[in-house]
């Protein structure tokens, strides 16, 4: 099993989120990413060309994924790393638990594990597996640290605590950091960051194992790359004796040059930076004469449904570089927040990935809860046609007869009429006249038969007495009569 999905409850979760004033305030406060992205992109006129290059590069890699993965493995082994292939989440967890168990220095074989931010670790439910085995896990990314304290999943792929407001963080810190002066104050966000840094620094050195993700794997060199703004990833991977990098298959790219293409897209799209504060290329274990670095280095390469996606209609989704621009610009995500999506991946990219990973039945709401406004596709640095992929999921849902009965029935009736123009126009004329009559000349309806979803929140503009086609026909007839005389 991967992390437990709750996506089938999207609708009620979203409605609750809309009623939650703290969440709404936090979402408003985190709204700056989209603005910063737009500004950063306006700075470089060649950005559209880099997007094309990024898309092409990813397409090429995906078309030759097996070859690049094997090349990566070879180079990684050469550099002294170990490479593990995990078909699914369970295998990945087992591999990691085994390595961690081997290096545990605590009593009763318990290890201290420091983690850099990794969505794959969320996908495979790694923390709970480690904790269930008795190990002590510390998230070192500030956002991840906050949600770890709160016992929550991330609500955004790059800003995991986007849903948490400053007063909430303050309360969490006071509850967790009981060794600090209870009278201390937090005048601003920086003071919270300062405290977190202080607390986390104390714990960097005692870890037995460091676990991070990888933004890229470079086939040419056998390197992994992580991009952070806090430097926590570096400390997590350099200081402990053992470093485990867990990454999904599609993270591989051919060369170092290609990495620079992705990096140019990633930071600008994610946070509006030209480059993240820390971009770290790591490779193999510590060699003789090296001053630092882990004594053992493991890559755990996770499939978990990717090869199936690679072979099917959703391959394009594997281009995703996890920048988060699609969710930052999504009016649905901005309204309901990440937790409503009920699984690890959120926003438009989650609406495509989640049904692919946890099944269409569980995830069916996500691709439906979109107006297809197209902003996600407009901003996606690797030009993933997200609405088109969501539509394909709706198609799969329709074919598997998973969509609600009433909707299917309604569509059937609509289709029958849409193919019979004469009947369609006659029936619609009658229907519209009825609605017009119902409105009593007020021009609008406060309540609508079968349209409660609309009139709960807005009035329904009443139709005219006559449809356009009926009126057009009448005028045309009058005109030709006039012509005849």
């Amino acid at each position: 099993m991967t992390a437990e999905p709750k996506s089938s409850q999207f609708k009620s979760a979203a409605s609750e989120a809309l009623q939650n004033p703290r969440l709404q305030a936090a979402m408003k406060a985190s709204g700056g990413l989209a603005v910063r992205r737009a500004a950063a992109i306006a700075e470089i006129p060649e950005f559209e060309a880099i997007r094309d290059a990024g898309r092409d590069l990813k397409n090429h890699t995906l078309a030759n994924l097996d070859a690049y993965l094997l090349a990566f493995e070879e180079k990684a082994l050469e550099s002294g790393a170990k490479v593990h292939w995990a078909a699914d989440a369970e295998e990945a967890r087992a591999i990691i638990l085994k390595i961690v168990g081997r290096h545990a220095k605590g009593p009763e074989g318990k290890a201290r594990v420091n983690k850099g931010k990794s969505m794959i670790s969320e996908e495979i439910g790694l923390n709970s597996a480690l904790e269930a085995a008795g190990h002590h896990v510390l998230e070192t990314d500030l956002g991840e640290y906050i949600i770890q304290l709160r016992g929550e999943p991330p609500s955004h792929i790059i800003a995991p605590a986007a849903h948490v407001s400053k007063p909430d963080v303050e309360a969490d810190f006071r509850a967790a950091h009981t060794h600090l002066d209870p009278e201390r104050t937090f005048p601003d966000a920086a003071s919270l960051v300062h405290e977190a840094r202080h607390v986390l620094r104390e714990q960097y050195f005692g870890a037995d194992v460091g676990i991070t993700g990888a933004n890229m794997l470079i086939a040419e060199t056998g390197q992994g790359v992580i991009v952070t703004n806090e430097g926590n990833g570096d400390l997590s991977q350099i200081l402990p004796d053992v470093h485990i990098a867990v990454a999904s298959l599609e993270k591989v790219i051919p060369t170092l040059d290609d990495a620079s293409t992705i990096l140019r897209l990633l930071a600008r799209s994610a946070t509006g930076q030209s480059l993240s504060s820390y971009t770290t290329f790591y490779k193999g274990a510590r060699r003789q004469g090296d001053l630092d670095g882990p004594k053992e280095m493991h890559f755990v390469l996770l499939d978990n449904g990717r090869s199936e996606m690679l072979a099917g209609e959703f391959r394009e989704m594997l281009r995703c570089i996890r920048c988060g621009a699609c969710m930052n610009n999504c009016p649905v995500y901005r309204a309901v927040g990440g937790h409503s999506y009920g699984w690890v991946y959120v926003g438009p990219m989650g609406s495509v990935l989640t049904p692919n990973f946890v099944g269409i039945k569980e995830g069916r709401h996500l691709p439906n809860a979109s107006t297809f406004c197209g902003r996600c596709q407009e901003v996606c640095p690797v030009r993933i046609p997200l609405p088109g992929l969501m539509r394909k999921l709706r198609e799969a849902e329709f074919e598997q007869k998973l969509s609600p009965q009433t909707a299917r029935y309604g569509l059937g009736v609509w289709r029958w009429f849409a193919k019979r123009p004469a009947l369609y126009h006659r029936m619609s004329s009658i229907g519209m006249r009825a609605l017009n009559w119902l409105s009593g000349g007020h021009g609008r309806l406060k309540r609508l038969p079968f349209g409660g979803g609309w009139t709960a929140h807005r009035d329904f503009p009443a139709p005219a007495k006559r449809t356009f086609m009926a009126e057009w026909k009448a005028r045309k007839a009058a005109k030709s009569q006039g012509d005849d005389q």
């Binding site: 406004c373 197209g374 539509r391 198609e395 074919e399 123009p421 929140h457 005219a464 449809t467």
Partner: protein
């Protein structure tokens, strides 16, 4: 079968335009259809609205019913094939005909070329006027402040952005005041607004806040779905802003009450 498109042969240089009114205009806002006719005729076109038209098929396509969408698409292709151009007063339905039909019929080798041919001659009303007919201004008057909402499909699939603003700038007395986030979705989304009413409500509330902040008298857009959504919310909130399709202003056809406003005594159109 559909009747002959036009009784008289087209006059030289007057292209035959098949007006696809779209189901929402047909049912809810005939005035937009007649405004489109007015604008097209003023731009030197012979206009007909073939009776065989119903709906573009988008409801099926967006619900994942490819087969249903294909059946409707084939019918509409047949109905509109005889015309030089097909014009829709909607970016959303326009995008379905122009962009989606070829995708809907991608595996149908008989119909795909016909879908492509239809795509090539199909246009959203305002872009047709400015880009195909070279219209630079209109002869209309409106005394007031308007704001313009960029409907999503028109904007992102068909590139409708500057064209309506260009034509609006020629309307005598009209002042355009842009709202914040004019390009952000209003929350209509076809069946989305009834399937996810709470989310849709938040989106349309954000939109009406932005509209109201401009203190405009009127919000305009090129898609009736978005307009009904915004007008319905504005009226529920008791805000004084009215809503109209941009074609109604450009054609000077504002006798009809604004969308969702009480009808006057008798139906009178010029």
């Amino acid at each position: 079968m559909q009747p002959a498109p036009s009784a008289e042969p087209a006059a030289p240089n007057r292209p035959k335009v098949g007006l696809f009114a779209t189901c929402l205009v047909d049912l809810f806002r005939p005035n937009v259809g007649f405004a489109a006719v007015e604008l097209l005729e003023a731009a030197g076109c012979d206009v007909d609205a073939p009776e065989g038209q119903t709906c573009c098929g988008q409801p099926a396509w967006n619900s994942g019913d490819r087969k249903g969408a294909a059946e409707v698409a084939r019918r509409m292709i047949e109905v509109f094939e005889p015309y030089d151009y097909v014009v829709l007063p909607s970016g959303s339905c326009g995008a379905t005909v122009k962009k989606d039909y070829v995708e809907i019929l991608r595996d149908d080798s008989d119909w795909l070329p016909r879908a492509q041919a239809l795509s090539d001659k199909t246009f959203e009303l305002i872009t047709f006027l400015t880009e195909i007919r070279g219209v630079e201004g209109v002869n209309a008057q409106f005394d007031g402040v308007v704001t313009y909402h960029d409907s999503c499909s028109g904007l992102r699939s068909l590139g409708v952005k500057d064209q309506p603003r260009q034509l609006l700038s020629s309307v005598d007395g009209l002042r355009l005041r842009e709202m914040e986030d004019a390009e952000v979705c209003c929350g209509f989304g076809g069946t989305f607004c009834v399937k996810y009413p709470d989310i849709s409500n938040r989106m349309v509330s954000n939109k009406t806040d932005n509209i109201a902040a401009t203190s405009a008298d009127l919000v305009l857009a090129g898609d009736l779905g978005c307009l009904m959504n915004m007008a319905g919310k504005l009226s529920r909130q008791g805000r004084p802003v009215k809503a109209r399709h941009v074609a109604e202003i450009l054609a000077g056809m504002t006798d009809e009450p604004a969308i969702g406003e009480p009808q006057r005594g008798s139906e009178k159109r010029k």
